[in-house]
Amino acid sequence: MAIVAEQSRFSRIFWPTLAWITAIVVFFPIFWLVFTSFKTDADAVKPEFLFKFTPTLENYSNMVDNYDYWRFAGNSIITSVFATIFALVVGVPCAYAMAFDPTRATKDVLMWMLSTKMLPAAAVLYPMTFLTKNFLGIYDTKFLVIVVLMLVNLPIVIWMLFSYFKEIPKEIIEAGKMDGVDTWGEIKEILIPLAWGGIASTALLTFIFCWNEAYWTVRLTTTDAATLSSLIEGNRAPEGLFFGRLSAVSTAAIGPIVVLGWFCQKQLVRGLTFGAVK
Protein backbone atom coordinates (compact mmCIF):
# COMPACT_ATOMS: atom_id res chain seq x y z
CA MET A 1 0.00 0.00 0.00
CA ALA A 2 1.92 2.95 -1.26
CA ILE A 3 -0.37 5.63 0.04
CA VAL A 4 -0.21 6.03 3.76
CA ALA A 5 -1.80 9.44 4.10
CA GLU A 6 0.40 10.94 6.76
CA GLN A 7 2.72 9.26 9.14
CA SER A 8 2.70 9.94 12.81
CA ARG A 9 5.97 10.51 14.58
CA PHE A 10 5.52 7.14 16.23
CA SER A 11 5.29 5.20 12.98
CA ARG A 12 8.18 7.14 11.44
CA ILE A 13 10.42 5.76 14.17
CA PHE A 14 8.69 2.52 15.04
CA TRP A 15 8.52 0.81 11.64
CA PRO A 16 12.13 1.39 10.56
CA THR A 17 13.37 0.30 13.99
CA LEU A 18 11.33 -2.87 13.83
CA ALA A 19 12.50 -3.53 10.28
CA TRP A 20 16.15 -3.14 11.22
CA ILE A 21 15.82 -5.34 14.31
CA THR A 22 14.28 -7.97 12.03
CA ALA A 23 17.17 -7.53 9.62
CA ILE A 24 19.67 -8.19 12.42
CA VAL A 25 17.76 -11.30 13.45
CA VAL A 26 17.69 -12.50 9.84
CA PHE A 27 21.39 -11.86 9.46
CA PHE A 28 22.27 -13.38 12.83
CA PRO A 29 23.42 -16.83 11.64
CA ILE A 30 25.79 -15.11 9.23
CA PHE A 31 27.15 -12.80 11.96
CA TRP A 32 27.71 -15.85 14.11
CA LEU A 33 29.66 -17.47 11.31
CA VAL A 34 31.84 -14.42 10.65
CA PHE A 35 32.55 -13.90 14.36
CA THR A 36 33.50 -17.53 14.84
CA SER A 37 35.91 -17.37 11.92
CA PHE A 38 38.06 -14.91 13.92
CA LYS A 39 38.25 -17.16 16.98
CA THR A 40 40.59 -19.99 17.71
CA ASP A 41 39.08 -23.46 17.55
CA ALA A 42 39.17 -23.57 21.35
CA ASP A 43 37.33 -20.25 21.78
CA ALA A 44 34.81 -21.13 19.10
CA VAL A 45 33.14 -23.82 21.15
CA LYS A 46 32.81 -21.66 24.26
CA PRO A 47 29.60 -19.71 23.99
CA GLU A 48 30.62 -17.19 26.64
CA PHE A 49 33.10 -15.94 24.09
CA LEU A 50 30.30 -15.02 21.70
CA PHE A 51 31.43 -11.41 21.59
CA LYS A 52 34.47 -11.14 23.84
CA PHE A 53 37.47 -12.82 22.33
CA THR A 54 40.81 -11.89 20.88
CA PRO A 55 40.39 -11.82 17.13
CA THR A 56 42.83 -13.97 15.26
CA LEU A 57 43.53 -14.51 11.59
CA GLU A 58 44.94 -17.94 12.32
CA ASN A 59 41.99 -19.72 10.72
CA TYR A 60 42.39 -17.83 7.50
CA SER A 61 46.11 -18.35 7.22
CA ASN A 62 45.64 -22.00 8.09
CA MET A 63 43.01 -22.30 5.38
CA VAL A 64 45.26 -20.77 2.75
CA ASP A 65 48.44 -22.58 3.83
CA ASN A 66 47.14 -26.05 4.60
CA TYR A 67 43.87 -26.45 2.83
CA ASP A 68 44.66 -25.23 -0.61
CA TYR A 69 41.96 -22.58 -0.44
CA TRP A 70 42.96 -20.85 -3.67
CA ARG A 71 42.68 -24.00 -5.76
CA PHE A 72 39.09 -24.54 -4.62
CA ALA A 73 38.30 -20.85 -4.98
CA GLY A 74 39.88 -20.83 -8.44
CA ASN A 75 37.78 -23.80 -9.49
CA SER A 76 34.66 -22.11 -8.16
CA ILE A 77 35.41 -18.92 -10.07
CA ILE A 78 36.32 -20.67 -13.34
CA THR A 79 33.38 -23.07 -13.36
CA SER A 80 30.81 -20.44 -12.29
CA VAL A 81 32.01 -17.82 -14.76
CA PHE A 82 32.18 -20.16 -17.74
CA ALA A 83 28.92 -21.91 -16.92
CA THR A 84 27.22 -18.50 -16.73
CA ILE A 85 28.73 -17.36 -20.03
CA PHE A 86 27.80 -20.57 -21.84
CA ALA A 87 24.31 -20.57 -20.38
CA LEU A 88 23.82 -17.04 -21.73
CA VAL A 89 25.37 -17.88 -25.11
CA VAL A 90 22.91 -20.72 -25.53
CA GLY A 91 20.06 -19.04 -23.70
CA VAL A 92 19.97 -15.65 -25.47
CA PRO A 93 19.39 -16.98 -29.02
CA CYS A 94 17.01 -19.56 -27.65
CA ALA A 95 14.91 -17.02 -25.74
CA TYR A 96 15.13 -14.66 -28.71
CA ALA A 97 13.70 -17.28 -31.03
CA MET A 98 10.90 -18.03 -28.61
CA ALA A 99 10.04 -14.42 -27.85
CA PHE A 100 10.11 -12.97 -31.37
CA ASP A 101 9.43 -15.91 -33.63
CA PRO A 102 7.00 -17.98 -31.62
CA THR A 103 5.36 -21.04 -33.09
CA ARG A 104 2.39 -22.88 -31.74
CA ALA A 105 4.72 -25.14 -29.79
CA THR A 106 6.71 -22.36 -28.10
CA LYS A 107 4.72 -22.28 -24.86
CA ASP A 108 4.84 -26.04 -24.59
CA VAL A 109 8.58 -26.09 -25.17
CA LEU A 110 9.07 -23.41 -22.54
CA MET A 111 6.91 -25.17 -20.05
CA TRP A 112 8.57 -28.44 -20.77
CA MET A 113 12.03 -26.95 -20.25
CA LEU A 114 10.97 -25.39 -16.98
CA SER A 115 9.35 -28.61 -15.83
CA THR A 116 12.75 -30.30 -15.97
CA LYS A 117 13.93 -27.86 -13.30
CA MET A 118 11.14 -29.01 -11.05
CA LEU A 119 12.07 -32.66 -11.25
CA PRO A 120 14.23 -34.02 -8.47
CA ALA A 121 17.89 -33.98 -9.41
CA ALA A 122 18.24 -37.17 -7.41
CA ALA A 123 16.71 -39.08 -10.31
CA VAL A 124 19.52 -38.00 -12.61
CA LEU A 125 22.47 -38.23 -10.25
CA TYR A 126 23.09 -41.93 -10.37
CA PRO A 127 23.12 -42.41 -14.15
CA MET A 128 25.14 -39.19 -14.45
CA THR A 129 27.85 -40.47 -12.11
CA PHE A 130 27.84 -43.87 -13.75
CA LEU A 131 28.10 -42.48 -17.27
CA THR A 132 30.78 -39.86 -16.63
CA LYS A 133 32.91 -42.16 -14.51
CA ASN A 134 32.75 -45.39 -16.44
CA PHE A 135 32.12 -44.39 -20.04
CA LEU A 136 33.10 -40.81 -20.76
CA GLY A 137 36.00 -40.49 -18.36
CA ILE A 138 35.22 -36.85 -17.63
CA TYR A 139 34.39 -37.35 -13.96
CA ASP A 140 36.15 -34.77 -11.77
CA THR A 141 36.99 -32.37 -14.59
CA LYS A 142 36.18 -28.66 -14.76
CA PHE A 143 34.66 -29.36 -18.16
CA LEU A 144 32.05 -31.65 -16.64
CA VAL A 145 31.28 -29.21 -13.82
CA ILE A 146 30.83 -26.37 -16.32
CA VAL A 147 28.56 -28.44 -18.56
CA VAL A 148 26.47 -29.67 -15.63
CA LEU A 149 26.17 -26.21 -14.04
CA MET A 150 25.17 -24.80 -17.40
CA LEU A 151 22.57 -27.49 -18.01
CA VAL A 152 20.95 -27.33 -14.59
CA ASN A 153 20.56 -23.57 -14.90
CA LEU A 154 19.61 -23.36 -18.56
CA PRO A 155 15.84 -23.72 -18.06
CA ILE A 156 15.82 -20.83 -15.56
CA VAL A 157 18.08 -18.74 -17.81
CA ILE A 158 15.85 -19.24 -20.85
CA TRP A 159 12.70 -18.68 -18.86
CA MET A 160 13.98 -15.40 -17.38
CA LEU A 161 15.42 -14.09 -20.63
CA PHE A 162 12.18 -14.97 -22.39
CA SER A 163 10.16 -12.95 -19.88
CA TYR A 164 12.51 -9.96 -20.31
CA PHE A 165 12.54 -10.17 -24.10
CA LYS A 166 8.76 -10.30 -24.07
CA GLU A 167 8.75 -6.75 -22.72
CA ILE A 168 10.54 -5.43 -25.80
CA PRO A 169 8.06 -4.24 -28.43
CA LYS A 170 8.12 -6.55 -31.42
CA GLU A 171 8.03 -3.52 -33.75
CA ILE A 172 11.56 -2.55 -32.82
CA ILE A 173 12.87 -5.94 -33.90
CA GLU A 174 10.76 -5.87 -37.04
CA ALA A 175 12.02 -2.40 -37.93
CA GLY A 176 15.52 -3.83 -37.79
CA LYS A 177 14.47 -6.62 -40.09
CA MET A 178 13.10 -4.06 -42.60
CA ASP A 179 16.44 -2.31 -42.62
CA GLY A 180 18.01 -5.56 -43.70
CA VAL A 181 19.70 -6.46 -40.44
CA ASP A 182 20.26 -10.21 -40.21
CA THR A 183 19.31 -12.34 -37.21
CA TRP A 184 22.70 -12.13 -35.57
CA GLY A 185 22.77 -8.37 -36.08
CA GLU A 186 19.35 -8.07 -34.49
CA ILE A 187 20.50 -9.91 -31.41
CA LYS A 188 23.75 -8.02 -31.14
CA GLU A 189 22.70 -4.50 -32.12
CA ILE A 190 19.11 -4.32 -30.94
CA LEU A 191 18.17 -7.03 -28.50
CA ILE A 192 21.17 -7.12 -26.20
CA PRO A 193 21.40 -3.34 -25.66
CA LEU A 194 17.66 -3.11 -25.01
CA ALA A 195 17.45 -6.05 -22.66
CA TRP A 196 20.72 -5.34 -20.90
CA GLY A 197 19.19 -4.97 -17.44
CA GLY A 198 17.38 -8.27 -17.72
CA ILE A 199 20.43 -10.05 -19.07
CA ALA A 200 22.53 -8.69 -16.20
CA SER A 201 20.02 -9.92 -13.60
CA THR A 202 19.92 -13.31 -15.26
CA ALA A 203 23.71 -13.49 -15.34
CA LEU A 204 24.03 -12.55 -11.68
CA LEU A 205 21.44 -15.10 -10.63
CA THR A 206 23.06 -17.84 -12.70
CA PHE A 207 26.45 -16.99 -11.25
CA ILE A 208 25.08 -17.17 -7.70
CA PHE A 209 23.38 -20.49 -8.37
CA CYS A 210 26.55 -21.92 -9.90
CA TRP A 211 28.67 -20.63 -7.04
CA ASN A 212 26.37 -22.14 -4.42
CA GLU A 213 25.79 -25.39 -6.23
CA ALA A 214 26.73 -28.24 -3.97
CA TYR A 215 24.55 -31.13 -4.98
CA TRP A 216 26.26 -31.70 -8.31
CA THR A 217 29.70 -30.27 -7.79
CA VAL A 218 30.41 -32.20 -4.59
CA ARG A 219 29.22 -35.45 -6.11
CA LEU A 220 30.80 -35.19 -9.54
CA THR A 221 34.26 -34.15 -8.37
CA THR A 222 36.90 -35.49 -6.05
CA THR A 223 40.03 -33.36 -6.20
CA ASP A 224 40.92 -31.78 -9.54
CA ALA A 225 37.72 -29.89 -10.18
CA ALA A 226 36.45 -29.60 -6.60
CA THR A 227 34.91 -26.23 -5.74
CA LEU A 228 34.49 -24.33 -2.49
CA SER A 229 31.35 -26.38 -1.73
CA SER A 230 33.57 -29.45 -1.57
CA LEU A 231 36.05 -27.68 0.69
CA ILE A 232 33.24 -26.90 3.13
CA GLU A 233 31.85 -30.41 2.91
CA GLY A 234 35.31 -31.79 3.60
CA ASN A 235 35.74 -29.60 6.67
CA ARG A 236 32.32 -30.41 8.08
CA ALA A 237 33.18 -34.01 8.75
CA PRO A 238 35.03 -34.08 12.10
CA GLU A 239 32.08 -32.94 14.10
CA GLY A 240 32.60 -30.18 16.63
CA LEU A 241 36.36 -30.00 16.42
CA PHE A 242 37.33 -27.28 14.03
CA PHE A 243 34.59 -24.71 14.19
CA GLY A 244 36.97 -21.82 13.79
CA ARG A 245 38.44 -23.24 10.64
CA LEU A 246 35.09 -24.28 9.23
CA SER A 247 33.70 -20.78 9.78
CA ALA A 248 36.68 -19.24 8.06
CA VAL A 249 36.16 -21.47 5.03
CA SER A 250 32.44 -20.72 5.07
CA THR A 251 32.95 -16.98 5.40
CA ALA A 252 35.41 -17.02 2.53
CA ALA A 253 32.85 -18.93 0.45
CA ILE A 254 29.88 -16.65 1.04
CA GLY A 255 31.85 -13.37 1.21
CA PRO A 256 31.99 -12.79 -2.56
CA ILE A 257 28.23 -13.31 -2.92
CA VAL A 258 27.39 -10.98 -0.03
CA VAL A 259 29.63 -8.25 -1.50
CA LEU A 260 28.49 -8.80 -5.08
CA GLY A 261 24.87 -8.84 -3.97
CA TRP A 262 25.28 -5.60 -2.05
CA PHE A 263 26.64 -3.74 -5.06
CA CYS A 264 24.08 -5.20 -7.45
CA GLN A 265 21.03 -5.04 -5.18
CA LYS A 266 18.62 -4.29 -7.96
CA GLN A 267 19.78 -7.20 -10.10
CA LEU A 268 19.90 -9.47 -7.06
CA VAL A 269 16.29 -8.80 -6.10
CA ARG A 270 15.14 -9.00 -9.69
CA GLY A 271 17.09 -12.18 -10.32
CA LEU A 272 16.23 -14.01 -7.11
CA THR A 273 12.54 -13.46 -7.68
CA PHE A 274 12.99 -14.78 -11.22
CA GLY A 275 12.07 -11.47 -12.78
CA ALA A 276 8.87 -11.02 -10.77
CA VAL A 277 10.21 -7.84 -9.13
CA LYS A 278 11.05 -5.12 -11.63
Binding site: A2, V109, D182
Partner: protein, 290 residues
Amino acid sequence: MTEWLEKHAPKMVLAPSFIAILVFVYGFIGWTAYVSFTRSKLLPKYDLKGTIQYERLADSPRFEVALTNLAIFGVLFILFATIIGLTLAILLDQKIRTEGPLRTIYLYPMALSFIVTGTAWKWILNPGLGIESVMHDLGWTDFAFNWLVDPNLAIYTVVIAGVWQSSGFVMALFLAGLRSVDNEVIRAAMVDGVSTPRIYMSIIIPSMAPIFLSAFIVLSHLAIKSFDLVIALTGGGPGYATDMPATFMYAMAFSRGDIGQAASSATVMMVIVTAIIVPYLYSELRPRHD
Protein backbone atom coordinates in the same frame (compact mmCIF):
# COMPACT_ATOMS: atom_id res chain seq x y z
CA MET B 1 19.93 -21.07 -49.15
CA THR B 2 20.08 -17.81 -47.22
CA GLU B 3 16.32 -17.72 -47.20
CA TRP B 4 16.14 -21.26 -45.91
CA LEU B 5 18.68 -20.39 -43.26
CA GLU B 6 16.78 -17.30 -42.23
CA LYS B 7 13.59 -19.29 -41.93
CA HIS B 8 15.03 -22.13 -39.96
CA ALA B 9 17.60 -20.22 -37.91
CA PRO B 10 15.39 -19.95 -34.80
CA LYS B 11 14.80 -23.68 -34.81
CA MET B 12 18.45 -24.36 -35.28
CA VAL B 13 19.52 -22.20 -32.37
CA LEU B 14 16.88 -23.88 -30.25
CA ALA B 15 17.98 -27.35 -31.20
CA PRO B 16 21.12 -27.71 -29.04
CA SER B 17 19.43 -26.81 -25.77
CA PHE B 18 16.43 -28.88 -26.75
CA ILE B 19 18.56 -31.93 -27.40
CA ALA B 20 20.68 -31.38 -24.31
CA ILE B 21 17.61 -31.30 -22.09
CA LEU B 22 16.12 -34.25 -23.90
CA VAL B 23 19.16 -36.43 -23.42
CA PHE B 24 20.41 -35.36 -20.03
CA VAL B 25 17.18 -34.88 -18.21
CA TYR B 26 14.60 -37.07 -19.83
CA GLY B 27 17.04 -39.74 -20.93
CA PHE B 28 18.31 -40.19 -17.41
CA ILE B 29 14.91 -39.91 -15.84
CA GLY B 30 13.66 -42.52 -18.26
CA TRP B 31 16.57 -44.74 -17.27
CA THR B 32 15.74 -44.28 -13.58
CA ALA B 33 12.07 -45.07 -14.15
CA TYR B 34 13.00 -48.17 -16.14
CA VAL B 35 15.45 -49.41 -13.51
CA SER B 36 12.76 -49.03 -10.84
CA PHE B 37 10.95 -51.96 -12.46
CA THR B 38 13.95 -54.29 -12.31
CA ARG B 39 15.68 -56.28 -9.59
CA SER B 40 18.72 -53.96 -9.57
CA LYS B 41 20.70 -54.02 -6.38
CA LEU B 42 24.34 -53.01 -6.36
CA LEU B 43 24.55 -52.71 -10.14
CA PRO B 44 21.78 -51.86 -12.56
CA LYS B 45 20.05 -54.82 -14.20
CA TYR B 46 17.85 -54.45 -17.23
CA ASP B 47 15.31 -57.30 -17.18
CA LEU B 48 11.91 -56.07 -16.13
CA LYS B 49 10.53 -57.68 -12.97
CA GLY B 50 7.32 -55.74 -12.35
CA THR B 51 6.61 -53.66 -9.27
CA ILE B 52 8.79 -55.55 -6.81
CA GLN B 53 10.79 -52.42 -5.91
CA TYR B 54 7.62 -50.49 -5.16
CA GLU B 55 6.40 -53.27 -2.90
CA ARG B 56 9.68 -53.16 -0.99
CA LEU B 57 9.40 -49.39 -0.79
CA ALA B 58 5.88 -49.61 0.62
CA ASP B 59 7.14 -51.99 3.31
CA SER B 60 10.11 -49.84 4.22
CA PRO B 61 9.66 -48.06 7.58
CA ARG B 62 12.42 -45.66 6.60
CA PHE B 63 10.60 -44.53 3.49
CA GLU B 64 7.47 -44.07 5.54
CA VAL B 65 9.40 -41.77 7.87
CA ALA B 66 10.70 -39.90 4.83
CA LEU B 67 7.21 -39.34 3.44
CA THR B 68 5.84 -38.31 6.83
CA ASN B 69 8.70 -35.86 7.22
CA LEU B 70 8.04 -34.45 3.79
CA ALA B 71 4.42 -33.89 4.76
CA ILE B 72 5.28 -32.24 8.11
CA PHE B 73 8.05 -30.17 6.62
CA GLY B 74 6.10 -29.24 3.50
CA VAL B 75 3.02 -28.00 5.36
CA LEU B 76 4.84 -26.07 8.10
CA PHE B 77 7.51 -24.69 5.80
CA ILE B 78 5.05 -23.36 3.23
CA LEU B 79 2.73 -22.00 5.92
CA PHE B 80 5.36 -20.16 7.94
CA ALA B 81 7.40 -18.93 4.98
CA THR B 82 4.23 -17.44 3.50
CA ILE B 83 3.08 -15.82 6.77
CA ILE B 84 6.50 -14.42 7.63
CA GLY B 85 7.16 -13.34 4.04
CA LEU B 86 3.85 -11.49 3.91
CA THR B 87 4.48 -9.87 7.31
CA LEU B 88 7.92 -8.70 6.23
CA ALA B 89 6.48 -7.30 3.01
CA ILE B 90 3.82 -5.34 4.89
CA LEU B 91 6.47 -4.13 7.32
CA LEU B 92 8.66 -2.87 4.49
CA ASP B 93 5.65 -1.26 2.88
CA GLN B 94 5.34 1.24 5.76
CA LYS B 95 7.30 3.90 3.87
CA ILE B 96 10.66 2.97 5.27
CA ARG B 97 13.42 5.01 3.74
CA THR B 98 16.04 2.28 3.83
CA GLU B 99 13.77 -0.20 2.10
CA GLY B 100 16.35 -1.13 -0.56
CA PRO B 101 19.10 -2.37 1.78
CA LEU B 102 16.54 -4.04 4.07
CA ARG B 103 15.04 -5.90 1.17
CA THR B 104 18.49 -7.12 0.18
CA ILE B 105 19.28 -8.27 3.72
CA TYR B 106 15.98 -10.18 3.97
CA LEU B 107 16.79 -11.84 0.65
CA TYR B 108 20.38 -12.76 1.45
CA PRO B 109 19.61 -16.17 2.98
CA MET B 110 18.23 -17.23 -0.39
CA ALA B 111 21.41 -16.11 -2.18
CA LEU B 112 23.89 -17.84 0.11
CA SER B 113 25.06 -21.39 -0.17
CA PHE B 114 22.95 -23.59 2.02
CA ILE B 115 25.73 -25.88 3.05
CA VAL B 116 27.23 -22.77 4.65
CA THR B 117 24.16 -21.35 6.31
CA GLY B 118 22.99 -24.85 7.25
CA THR B 119 26.25 -25.28 9.12
CA ALA B 120 25.72 -22.01 10.95
CA TRP B 121 22.23 -23.12 11.96
CA LYS B 122 23.60 -26.41 13.13
CA TRP B 123 25.69 -24.60 15.74
CA ILE B 124 22.98 -22.21 16.75
CA LEU B 125 20.59 -25.09 17.35
CA ASN B 126 23.21 -27.33 18.93
CA PRO B 127 22.39 -27.63 22.65
CA GLY B 128 26.03 -27.58 23.74
CA LEU B 129 27.19 -24.68 21.59
CA GLY B 130 24.35 -22.48 20.47
CA ILE B 131 21.36 -20.65 21.85
CA GLU B 132 20.88 -23.06 24.74
CA SER B 133 24.36 -22.67 26.15
CA VAL B 134 24.38 -18.91 25.55
CA MET B 135 21.18 -18.70 27.61
CA HIS B 136 22.75 -20.85 30.32
CA ASP B 137 25.74 -18.55 30.45
CA LEU B 138 23.49 -15.55 30.74
CA GLY B 139 22.03 -17.15 33.83
CA TRP B 140 18.86 -18.73 32.47
CA THR B 141 19.85 -22.24 33.42
CA ASP B 142 16.44 -23.85 32.86
CA PHE B 143 16.40 -22.87 29.22
CA ALA B 144 16.26 -25.97 27.03
CA PHE B 145 16.36 -26.12 23.27
CA ASN B 146 17.55 -29.51 22.14
CA TRP B 147 15.29 -30.15 19.15
CA LEU B 148 18.25 -30.87 16.93
CA VAL B 149 19.17 -34.04 18.83
CA ASP B 150 15.63 -35.16 19.64
CA PRO B 151 14.44 -37.66 17.00
CA ASN B 152 10.84 -36.53 17.42
CA LEU B 153 11.56 -32.83 17.13
CA ALA B 154 14.58 -32.67 14.81
CA ILE B 155 12.40 -32.27 11.74
CA TYR B 156 11.17 -28.94 13.15
CA THR B 157 14.70 -27.55 13.12
CA VAL B 158 14.73 -28.25 9.39
CA VAL B 159 11.53 -26.21 9.19
CA ILE B 160 13.18 -23.32 11.08
CA ALA B 161 16.19 -23.22 8.77
CA GLY B 162 14.05 -23.63 5.66
CA VAL B 163 11.72 -20.80 6.67
CA TRP B 164 14.71 -18.62 7.41
CA GLN B 165 16.11 -19.29 3.98
CA SER B 166 12.96 -18.73 1.95
CA SER B 167 10.94 -16.05 3.76
CA GLY B 168 12.88 -13.24 2.10
CA PHE B 169 12.03 -14.60 -1.31
CA VAL B 170 8.33 -14.71 -0.43
CA MET B 171 8.67 -11.19 0.99
CA ALA B 172 10.05 -9.88 -2.31
CA LEU B 173 7.18 -11.46 -4.24
CA PHE B 174 4.57 -9.96 -1.91
CA LEU B 175 6.26 -6.57 -1.83
CA ALA B 176 6.01 -6.42 -5.61
CA GLY B 177 2.39 -7.47 -5.27
CA LEU B 178 1.64 -4.77 -2.69
CA ARG B 179 2.98 -2.16 -5.08
CA SER B 180 0.72 -3.24 -7.88
CA VAL B 181 -2.53 -3.06 -5.89
CA ASP B 182 -4.88 -0.45 -7.30
CA ASN B 183 -4.39 2.72 -5.27
CA GLU B 184 -7.80 4.11 -6.14
CA VAL B 185 -9.60 1.34 -4.32
CA ILE B 186 -7.45 1.83 -1.24
CA ARG B 187 -7.95 5.58 -1.29
CA ALA B 188 -11.69 5.12 -1.58
CA ALA B 189 -11.66 2.75 1.40
CA MET B 190 -9.61 5.21 3.42
CA VAL B 191 -12.02 8.01 2.62
CA ASP B 192 -14.79 5.78 3.90
CA GLY B 193 -12.89 5.48 7.16
CA VAL B 194 -11.96 1.81 6.88
CA SER B 195 -9.14 0.98 9.28
CA THR B 196 -5.70 0.06 7.96
CA PRO B 197 -5.74 -3.55 9.20
CA ARG B 198 -9.13 -4.02 7.54
CA ILE B 199 -7.83 -2.57 4.29
CA TYR B 200 -5.04 -5.15 4.35
CA MET B 201 -7.28 -8.04 5.31
CA SER B 202 -10.22 -7.32 3.02
CA ILE B 203 -8.75 -5.54 0.02
CA ILE B 204 -5.00 -5.89 -0.37
CA ILE B 205 -4.37 -9.49 0.66
CA PRO B 206 -7.27 -10.99 -1.34
CA SER B 207 -6.11 -9.12 -4.43
CA MET B 208 -2.76 -10.89 -4.24
CA ALA B 209 -4.17 -14.36 -4.81
CA PRO B 210 -1.94 -15.04 -7.84
CA ILE B 211 1.15 -14.26 -5.75
CA PHE B 212 0.05 -16.72 -3.09
CA LEU B 213 -0.18 -19.30 -5.82
CA SER B 214 3.29 -18.54 -7.24
CA ALA B 215 4.78 -18.58 -3.74
CA PHE B 216 3.07 -21.88 -3.04
CA ILE B 217 4.46 -23.48 -6.17
CA VAL B 218 8.02 -22.30 -5.64
CA LEU B 219 7.95 -23.25 -1.96
CA SER B 220 6.50 -26.69 -2.55
CA HIS B 221 9.13 -27.34 -5.16
CA LEU B 222 11.83 -26.25 -2.69
CA ALA B 223 10.27 -28.50 -0.03
CA ILE B 224 10.31 -31.60 -2.18
CA LYS B 225 13.84 -30.96 -3.35
CA SER B 226 15.16 -30.01 0.09
CA PHE B 227 18.29 -32.08 -0.01
CA ASP B 228 21.12 -29.69 0.83
CA LEU B 229 19.08 -28.32 3.69
CA VAL B 230 18.65 -31.67 5.42
CA ILE B 231 22.19 -32.81 4.69
CA ALA B 232 23.73 -29.60 6.03
CA LEU B 233 21.59 -29.45 9.14
CA THR B 234 20.98 -32.98 10.38
CA GLY B 235 22.39 -35.30 7.73
CA GLY B 236 19.07 -37.11 7.97
CA GLY B 237 19.62 -37.90 11.62
CA PRO B 238 19.40 -38.59 14.47
CA GLY B 239 19.19 -42.09 12.99
CA TYR B 240 16.95 -41.53 10.02
CA ALA B 241 14.54 -39.28 11.92
CA THR B 242 14.84 -36.39 9.47
CA ASP B 243 15.13 -38.37 6.27
CA MET B 244 13.22 -36.96 3.32
CA PRO B 245 12.54 -38.71 0.01
CA ALA B 246 15.56 -36.95 -1.54
CA THR B 247 17.97 -38.03 1.22
CA PHE B 248 16.42 -41.50 1.30
CA MET B 249 17.06 -41.84 -2.41
CA TYR B 250 20.60 -40.63 -2.00
CA ALA B 251 21.34 -42.99 0.85
CA MET B 252 20.00 -45.94 -1.13
CA ALA B 253 21.97 -45.11 -4.25
CA PHE B 254 25.29 -44.18 -2.71
CA SER B 255 25.71 -45.69 0.72
CA ARG B 256 23.35 -48.66 0.82
CA GLY B 257 24.11 -49.85 -2.70
CA ASP B 258 20.46 -50.43 -3.49
CA ILE B 259 19.85 -48.92 -6.89
CA GLY B 260 16.40 -50.48 -7.23
CA GLN B 261 15.13 -48.72 -4.10
CA ALA B 262 16.84 -45.49 -5.11
CA ALA B 263 15.22 -45.58 -8.54
CA SER B 264 11.76 -46.38 -7.26
CA SER B 265 11.87 -43.67 -4.57
CA ALA B 266 13.13 -41.18 -7.17
CA THR B 267 10.22 -42.13 -9.41
CA VAL B 268 7.76 -41.64 -6.53
CA MET B 269 9.25 -38.17 -5.95
CA MET B 270 8.89 -37.30 -9.61
CA VAL B 271 5.25 -38.31 -9.58
CA ILE B 272 4.61 -36.12 -6.52
CA VAL B 273 6.34 -33.10 -8.06
CA THR B 274 4.63 -33.56 -11.39
CA ALA B 275 1.24 -33.77 -9.70
CA ILE B 276 1.82 -30.39 -8.03
CA ILE B 277 3.78 -28.47 -10.64
CA VAL B 278 2.45 -29.41 -14.05
CA PRO B 279 -1.16 -28.28 -13.60
CA TYR B 280 0.14 -24.96 -12.33
CA LEU B 281 2.57 -24.43 -15.17
CA TYR B 282 -0.16 -25.14 -17.68
CA SER B 283 -2.60 -22.72 -16.15
CA GLU B 284 0.16 -20.14 -15.82
CA LEU B 285 1.45 -20.32 -19.38
CA ARG B 286 -1.63 -21.06 -21.42
CA PRO B 287 -3.86 -18.00 -21.18
CA ARG B 288 -1.17 -15.40 -20.85
CA HIS B 289 0.85 -16.00 -23.99
CA ASP B 290 -1.54 -17.79 -26.33
